[in-house]
């Protein structure tokens, strides 16, 4: 049976098209593009909440999108143990819905960061099975609010339940930083306890094609379909 997936588009999403191509090229299956005002999702294996500036980042990044009509079905989809991936603004939306813990606040140095960065996996989950321990991935980031924050109790539980999926690290560029945005423990992505929901700030859909500087983003989807 072929792998089915969907990308939700909100007003202000700007990586939805990239996410659609990413899924079409790598899964070779059916990919739906769903407008946020739709009331229901088709039965799919994976849903992506894409990057961008949904609702202009009004109030807080992801706050408005987290109350969209389609979100009820996104929650149902995730509760059925199917895969849900939030990239960048999608990660912010997942924390605002409450499907993932913590929050994403403004980058420590106040700059919008749009550059290549390096991450490695911390604990094993469904989304990184194809990635070797200590393998450094080059995947770009593009965000202003990517500084992951949670209280000490939550951090302890994220560690105890092995929910930290990716952390920023130094890479092959001499000027690469250990922690680009000030995130607690350099967290770049986390999962829920069941490991079927992943939120990450780096953009794997910008690192898979021959014309991208890196193809490391392939590994995220390959972990799910192989």
């Amino acid at each position: 049976m072929s792998f089915k997936s969907a990308v939700i588009t909100f007003p202000g999403s700007n990586c939805d098209r990239d996410a659609l191509c990413y899924l079409q090229d790598l899964t070779k299956g059916v990919v739906y593009n769903i407008w946020h005002e739709e009331a229901s999702l088709p039965q799919v294996d994976l849903v992506i909440l894409p990057g961008g500036f949904s609702f202009g980042d009004y109030l807080r990044s992801g706050a408005m999108a987290s109350k969209s009509k389609i979100i009820n079905d996104v929650i149902k989809h995730a509760n059925d143990d199917r895969y849900l991936l939030g990239i960048c603004n999608g990660f912010q939306i997942l924390t605002e819905i409450g499907l993932l813990e913590g929050a994403l606040i403004q980058n420590k140095n106040l700059k919008f960061l749009g550059k290549n960065c390096f991450i490695k996996k911390k604990f094993k989950n469904n989304f990184n099975l194809s990635i070797k321990e200590d393998q450094v991935l080059q995947i770009p980031v593009a965000h202003n609010e990517g500084n992951f924050y949670c209280d000490n109790e939550t951090l302890k539980s994220l560690k105890n339940n092995e929910q930290i999926a990716f952390e920023y690290c130094k890479g092959e560029f001499s000027n690469s930083e250990e922690n680009i945005n000030g995130s607690i423990e350099a967290i770049a992505g986390i999962t829920n306890k069941k490991k079927n929901i992943l939120g990450m700030m780096p953009h794997p859909e910008r690192a898979y094609s021959d014309f991208h500087p890196s193809q490391d983003g392939k590994l995220i989807i390959e972990s799910l379909i192989t």
Binding site: Q106, L110, Y149
Partner: protein
């Protein structure tokens, strides 16, 4: 009635905009301006005939559901 809700980042959360504002004010000679933090103010109208309990309950519920993210923010209804 006009309602004003003041929302700010919790004190332990880094608020970089305030830091930059402080730097700029210091550069302008306002050296005694310290520990600047920026928040946001939401103003809205509620019907005058609501009781205090109804009013408080509605504001509280709106803050919890949308206006405030209590992981990082706190709020106060201004008198």
């Amino acid at each position: 009635m006009r309602i004003k809700i003041l929302i700010r980042l919790k004190s332990q959360i880094l608020e970089p905009q305030g830091k930059v504002i402080e730097q700029s004010l210091n550069n302008l000679g306002f050296n005694e301006f310290n520990n600047i933090r920026q928040g946001k103010l939401i103003e809205l109208d509620l019907p005058d005939n609501l009781s205090k309990e109804e009013k408080d309950q509605k504001i509280d519920s709106a803050c919890k559901k949308l206006l405030v993210n209590d992981i990082i923010e706190e709020y106060e209804v201004l008198g």
